[in-house]
C-alpha cells in the first residue's frame, strides 16, 4: 500500500475545511461562553465580597445602635427608679409629718379637754364648797351631823367628778 498523493491532498482539504468551520462556529462561541462565565463568576465574587463588607458595616452600625439604646434604657430605668424612690421617701416623710401633726393635735386637744375638765371640776368644787358652807351655816349640827354632811358632800363630789 503506497500513499496516494490525491487522497492526501483531498484529506488535507477536508481537514482544513473542518478546522475553519469548527473554529468559527464551535470554538468561537464556546470560548466566548467560557470567558463570559469566568467574568460572570469574577463579578459575582466581587459583588459578594462587597456585599459582605456592607453587611458587616451595617451589623456594626446596628450593634452600636442597640448598645446605645440599651444604655439609654438602663439610664431611664435608673432615673425612674431614683425618682420613684424619692417619691416614696417624700410620701413616707409626708405621711410621717401628717401623723406627727395629727398626734400633736390630738394630744393638744386632750390637754385642752383635760384643762377644761379640771376647770369645771374646780368650779364644781367651788360651787359645792359654797353649797356646803351654806348648808353648814344653815344647819347647826353636831360632829356626827358634820360628819354625815361631809360624807354626803364627798359622795356627791365623787359622782360629779
Amino acid at each position: 500500500m503506497m500513499p496516494q498523493l490525491g487522497t492526501m491532498l483531498v484529506q488535507l482539504a477536508v481537514f482544513l475545511v473542518l478546522f475553519l468551520l469548527l473554529r468559527k462556529y464551535a470554538f468561537g462561541p464556546l470560548m466566548k461562553v467560557m470567558s463570559d462565565r469566568a467574568e460572570y463568576i469574577e463579578n459575582q465574587i466581587t459583588s459578594a465580597e462587597k456585599n459582605r463588607a456592607e453587611v458587616e458595616r451595617l451589623a456594626a452600625e446596628h450593634k452600636a445602635a442597640i448598645d446605645s439604646a440599651k444604655k439609654e434604657a438602663a439610664e431611664m430605668l435608673e432615673n425612674a427608679r431614683r425618682s420613684g424612690d424619692k417619691q416614696a421617701a417624700d410620701l413616707v416623710a409626708a405621711a410621717e409629718a401628717e401623723a406627727r401633726r395629727l398626734r400633736e393635735e390630738a394630744s393638744a386637744e386632750i390637754k385642752r379637754e383635760k384643762e377644761l375638765a379640771l376647770a369645771e371640776v374646780r368650779e364644781q368644787v367651788a360651787a359645792l364648797s359654797v353649797l356646803l358652807a351654806g348648808k353648814i351655816i344653815h344647819q347647826e349640827l353636831n360632829a356626827e351631823g358634820h360628819k354625815a354632811l361631809f360624807d354626803e358632800a364627798v359622795k356627791e363630789m365623787g359622782v360629779r367628778v
Partner: protein, 256 residues
C-alpha cells in the same frame, strides 16, 4: 484476501473514495456534534454536549499551556481542538462498522481491469476508519509537521539556531529528528488504527465452533473495547505531539 478500495485516478494522484468518504463523514459527525453542543450555549447552565466540548477545550488549553506555554499557547488551541475531536471520531468509526462487499462486476472506482486482476471477484471495503488509511494518516502528519516548520520560520534566527544547539555537531541528529517526525507521527496513527481493524476482521472471520458457537465473540468484544481505548489514546497522542512540535519550533525565551 487483500481488500480493494474504490479509487478514481491513476497511480500517485489516485483518490481513495472509501478513505475520503469516511473522512468527510467523520468531519460531518464532528460538525454535527459541534452544532448540537453550541445550539443553546448557556453561561450559567451548560448542558450535555456543551459540557463535553467545554471540557475538551479546557483540557486542550491545559495541554497547550504545558507544551507551548504562555499566552501564545491559545493560538494553537483551535487546531489541537479540531485535531483531537476529528481523530477521536475518525478512529472509532471503523470500530462501529466495517463494510466489505464481494464484487463481481465493475463499479465506480473498481475497473474491469482491476477485477480481472483479482480473478473476477474482489473484496471491496466501503466503510472503515479514515485513519486506518496510510494516505490519510500521512497527510495529517506531513501537513502538521510542515506547518510547524512554517510557524518556526516566522522567527528564522531562532529556527535555524535550534539546529545547531547545543553544538553544531548535533545538526545531523536534528535533521534526522525532523525527517523522522513526518513519518513517525503518521505511521503511529495509521499503524494503531489499521492493526485494530485488521484484528477485528480476523476475529469476525473466525469459523463458528460446532457450527453455531461464535469463537471470535468474546475476544472480539475485548478487542473492540481495547481498540476504542487505543483510538482515544492515538487521538490524544497525535494532538499532544502536534502541540509539542509547535512548541519546539517557537523561540523558547521563557525556558532559557
Amino acid at each position: 484476501m487483500e481488500h480493494l478500495f474504490p479509487t478514481i485516478g491513476e497511480g500517485t494522484w489516485a483518490i481513495d473514495l472509501t478513505a475520503i468518504g469516511t473522512s468527510i463523514l467523520a468531519a460531518l459527525i464532528v460538525l454535527l456534534l459541534a452544532r448540537l453542543a453550541t445550539k443553546s450555549v448557556d453561561v450559567r447552565k451548560p448542558r450535555g454536549l456543551q459540557n463535553f466540548f467545554e471540557w475538551v477545550i479546557d483540557f486542550i488549553t491545559g495541554l497547550a499551556k504545558d507544551t507551548i506555554g504562555g499566552k501564545r499557547a491559545m493560538t494553537y488551541v483551535p487546531l489541537a481542538f479540531t485535531l483531537i475531536i476529528y481523530l477521536f471520531v475518525a478512529n472509532q468509526m471503523g470500530l462501529i462498522t466495517n463494510i466489505t462487499a464481494h464484487i463481481h462486476e465493475p463499479m465506480l472506482g473498481i475497473s474491469q481491469e482491476t477485477l480481472d486482476h483479482h480473478d473476477g471477484e474482489a473484496h471491496v471495503s466501503f466503510f472503515m476508519s479514515p485513519t486506518a488509511n496510510l494516505s490519510v494518516a500521512m497527510a495529517m502528519s506531513i501537513g502538521i509537521v510542515t506547518m510547524t516548520h512554517f510557524i518556526g520560520l516566522r522567527n528564522p534566527k531562532s529556527y535555524f539556531k535550534h539546529y545547531i544547539e547545543p553544538n553544531p555537531a548535533f545538526l545531523i541528529l536534528h535533521l534526522i529528528d525532523e525527517v523522522a517526525k513526518f513519518i513517525t507521527l503518521g505511521l503511529r496513527l495509521f499503524g494503531n488504527i489499521f492493526a485494530g481493524e485488521v484484528l477485528i476482521g480476523i476475529l469476525v472471520g473466525l469459523p463458528l465452533l460446532f457450527g453455531f458457537f461464535p469463537t471470535g465473540g468474546i475476544p472480539l468484544i475485548v478487542w473492540l473495547a481495547y481498540s476504542m481505548f487505543v483510538g482515544t489514546i492515538q487521538a490524544f497522542v497525535f494532538t499532544v505531539l502536534t502541540l509539542v512540535y509547535i512548541g519546539q519550533k517557537l523561540p523558547h525565551d521563557e525556558h532559557h
